[in-house]
Amino acid sequence: MKTIKSISGTAIPLALDNVDTDMIIPATYLTSTEATGYGKHVFQRLKDQDSNFVFNQSVFKGANILISQHSFGCGSSREHAVWALLEAGIEAVIAISFADIFKNNSAQNGLVLITLPEEQIFSMLSFAKKTEYHLTIDVCEKTLTSSQGEHIEFSLDPFYQYCLVNGLGHLDYLLNHQEAISHFKQTQQNRAYIRMPEK
């Protein structure tokens, strides 16, 4: 995984609660067997329904930071949602809260998620709607600065931050512990009760 120390760019205001992964990438695009090809369909239904939807507005072309509200990424476990956002150029999502599986999927792909309090988010959303709102996210220092002169501190899970900054993937971490895993699995008791008949 690539290392991510900072992200800067323009913010897109997505002033919605409960942005679910069906919204981010509808199921109809999930018959692909690849992890790529979803970016052009990101928020497809919302883009089709509303010509004023933020992802249809030319002012947000090239913007790379999404600001949203409560429980972003809820619903289906599809990692395709993270792949679609990244491929559409989104490098970070700032929201009031995130759904757990989406959070985990983002961590695996280097999509940076930042949680901020409601008042902060609403103020940021209003800036992003009115002006070209430029943000710089420093993952190492856990700070966010804006073109409006804001300087905001945020918290990150220390391990998540360590993985981002060092480009460490969870699979490598697990493979480094293979010996302990094998020992554990060989001595594990409860699995003896699962009877696996011959094929």
């Binding site: 069906d22 289906s76 476990s77 999927n105 699995k185 009760y193």
Partner: protein, 470 residues
Amino acid sequence: MVKKNIIEKIWDMHKVSQMEGHPAIVAIDCTLIHEVTSAPAFECLKERRLAVYDRKYTVATIDHSIPTRVDRINIKDAAAKKQIALLRKNVEDFGIRFFDYDSGYQGIVHVIGPELGLTQPGMTLVCGDSHTATHGAFGAFAFGIGTSVLSHVLATGCLLMHKPKVMRVHFEGMPGQEVYSKDVILKLISILGINGASGYVIEYTGEFVRRLSMEKRMTLCNMSIECGAIAGLISPDETTFDYIKNKPFAPSHTDWQAAVKHWQSIASDENCPYDKSIVVNIENLKPMITWGTNPAQAIEIDQCIPQPEALSETEKHMAEMALNYIQLNPGSKIEGVSIDWAFVGSCTNGRIEDLREVAAILKDNRVHPSVTMYIVPGSEQVRQLAEREGLDEIFKKAGADFRMPGCSLCIAMNEDKIPLNQRCISTTNRNFVGRQGSGSYTHLASPATVATSAIFGKITSPEYFHKEGQ
């Protein structure tokens, strides 16, 4: 002795190691695979020349993108066809047990796991699907993962995870007539909201839960994700053990006593601590139905659709958007709204008990001429049993379409889709915008409510039907 809840016990039994400040390495006992979320995970293993670590405990099937027509072998969608062909190749290349069409065991992953006896108390179980919590009905710690984490589990038999918090949801009282676990979980989600249980695993307790059959418990646990929970589970008891006994993958006769003893030991200790506890009163609860575009937007069937002004500031905006999409008026009655489609199926409500309840209502009745009704069994086993019991004949006579097993209209990835601007009452788990087909409207309810509404051509309480029928 320190008293522990079921999740703490399962956690302690599966924690391989944990470095300070890091998530724990957690051993996974069983992995279920389907065609939609697995291909890049296998690709990752191929690229890194890794084998599947726990081949023996990894099981695959096809469910999401397959047709539910009788001639389902003939997949018309080129992408879906390729996806299924690739899964067949991957299970072959990696030596994974696979339940294909002709195996007699094909079906929705969360229906076949329990049917096979693969889902057992105290185990950790994962699948690239958010409704994996279904298996929690057995007292298993079962949760959905993405494709990357699936590759970790395939390669190492483990994943990285922070210890989850545990919330006890205690149901008090008994619901009214024709009220099922589907109604109870919709009630809970409507109270907690879409992310009310975020970061928690829920343990469901109470007399109501203890009296539920395993299938009803599965429905309850299945929708835990809809209030944001990582998983939802029920401590195992005699009902659990009776269900597992004699299933193909259940412990052998010689292991049975030891297995039951182990399973009993993982149930939550009496008066054990939880990170959070809530009590939900379900005394006299009526059948529930959703009026909006997320599962928390649900009311009792005799209530009126809420006025957005009466809701909190955050809920208000979502309610306005939902009502605008779903073409219903605030303050109006949900009962009596005309429907075009009725769907029975999915990992939530596609099991034999669901089909029996639907058949009991459809018997000697006709599906309303303006309604198309699909009944899609959750698995081959469910389908065959329904046929042996003659349920298929009842469905056909009533004018419903009894189809082949799969996810079908729950995710509408295959040919089954609700057309634009048509309204469907559905036993599924999500009523998100366009979930059942672009521009379609979904109302989530129990199989009994769906069957009753199908007959009347409008949203109708199953209690009402029974009164009339008597």
